[in-house]
């Protein structure tokens, strides 16, 4: 499992450009949102935490497609199925690699983006916390979607349509934690929900993904 993780990270670094590019991506999208919405600071600050969460979803989507498809096309996945390690751990390794190259950099850069969009000062801690708790769930759910659409070339849009509804609960609770944090009201409930959701998803969904992979490779 470590080997799969390391290899995926190395591939991501070498071709995707890794961290640096991911961070750039978030910054640019934030700028675009600012440009699209207009320069009204009050408005931007109201929507900042929500928009950051939506950006997190979209960044996931942009990279999901490639979680399995490259390995599938060149036959590597077949070898991994035969190899002496459970498919569940391959799935988990890939989800982890995905998180390390999207969720983590997003979490790191989110204060900066918050600053650009005028997030109130109390909001930073909660924004980062909500992203840290929520993005692992996004990666794991995304892996499930990628497994479902394995082998459908150009599955990009289909994948989005399958996955985005599954992202709804995470998004709502995550954005709610960040939003409430930024205006300083009680946020226990969404925080616990987010935590529970994330743990549940990470613990259970990889089994479903592995099952789906097996069906698809049949």
């Amino acid at each position: 499992m470590r080997a799969v993780l390391l290899r995926d990270l190395r591939l991501a670094m070498r071709v995707g450009g890794g961290f640096g590019l991911a961070i750039m991506f978030f910054l640019i999208v934030a700028v675009l949102v600012a440009l699209g919405v207009g320069p009204d600071v009050a408005l931007l600050s109201d929507i900042s935490s929500g928009i950051l969460w939506v950006i997190a979803l979209l960044a996931c989507l942009l990279s999901l497609d490639r979680i399995f498809s490259l390995d599938y096309e060149d036959g590597t996945l077949d070898h991994l199925v035969i190899a002496p390690l459970p498919l569940e751990s391959v799935v988990l390794a890939k989800a982890t690699a995905h998180w390390l190259t999207t969720g983590l950099p997003l979490g790191l850069v989110s204060p900066l983006v918050g600053l650009m969009l005028g997030l109130p000062a109390e909001g930073y801690l909660w924004l980062v916390l909500s992203l840290a708790l929520g993005t692992p769930a996004l990666s794991v759910i995304g892996t499930f979607g990628a497994a479902l659409t394995l082998g459908l070339k150009r599955g990009g849009l289909l994948l989005s349509v399958l996955i985005l509804p599954l992202y709804v609960p995470t998004l709502i609770f995550g954005a709610e934690v960040a939003r409430r944090g930024s205006i300083g009201i009680e946020l226990q409930t969404p925080l616990w929900m987010l935590l529970g959701l994330s743990f549940g998803v990470v613990a259970i969904l990889p089994f479903a993904s592995a099952a789906v992979l097996r069906i698809n490779l049949r």
Partner: protein, 208 residues
């Protein structure tokens, strides 16, 4: 003689079409079988079924768990990793820390640090074959291994397989070309098992 694989009444299908029926054979340690047959007969499907990548329609396959190493038409090589990194990855997966013998067996030493995406077709094929040596698995399942290889590399490949057989391994090989593996190798014509029955899905009969 010690049997590493025995296949009984195997029947395989793909997309609702039965391809072969009643395939029976046994494979002993130290033995190789070369399968021949026309394009589209179902040889690739057959090897995938035996390696456990696809379910059989019916029949039994007896083999120890984790005994197969498989080489497919597709190379399974990552263009953005170097040759050594590609092999090292599989070495990690198979808990086998020595990639040097595999590299030198297929003459890849000079190419070690080149990105696999820059290899020529034959070099890539050799890299893909080198994985067999790393897997440490007793039964090698090779789907047209000699494709794109020049004559020297084909000889190298024959040597490697022979060595594997001498060490008590076994091999199932599909090829349209010619491979000289000595006396411990038999050729089987798969065309004899050809079937034309159609099924559709695994419960097709239910619909009639």
């Amino acid at each position: 003689m010690f049997m590493v694989l025995s296949v009984q009444d195997l029947c395989i299908a793909r997309s609702g079409q039965v391809l072969m029926t009643d395939v029976n054979f046994e494979l002993a340690a130290g033995q190789a079988l070369i399968f021949k047959g026309p394009n589209g007969l179902g040889k690739t499907t057959f090897l995938r079924v035996i390696s456990g990548l696809q379910p059989a329609l019916s029949g039994k396959i007896h083999a120890k768990e984790d005994s197969f190493a498989y080489t497919a038409h597709a190379d399974g090589v990552k263009p953005s990793l170097t040759v050594a990194e590609n092999l090292q990855f599989w070495a990690d997966i198979f808990d086998n820390q020595n990639i040097d013998t595999a590299l030198s067996a297929f003459g890849l030493n000079d190419l070690k640090s080149r990105f696999a995406g820059l290899l020529s077709a034959g070099q890539k094929r050799r890299l893909c074959l080198a994985r067999m040596l790393i897997s440490n698995r007793p039964v090698w399942v090779l789907d047209e291994p000699s494709v794109s290889l020049d004559t020297a590399s084909v000889t190298q490949l024959e040597e490697v397989i022979k060595q594997h057989l001498q060490n008590g391994g076994a091999a199932l090989i599909v090829t349209h070309g010619h491979l000289d593996l000595g006396p411990s190798c038999k050729t089987v014509n798969l065309g004899e098992y050809k079937s034309n029955r159609a099924v559709y899905g695994d419960g097709a009969e239910a619909f009639l």
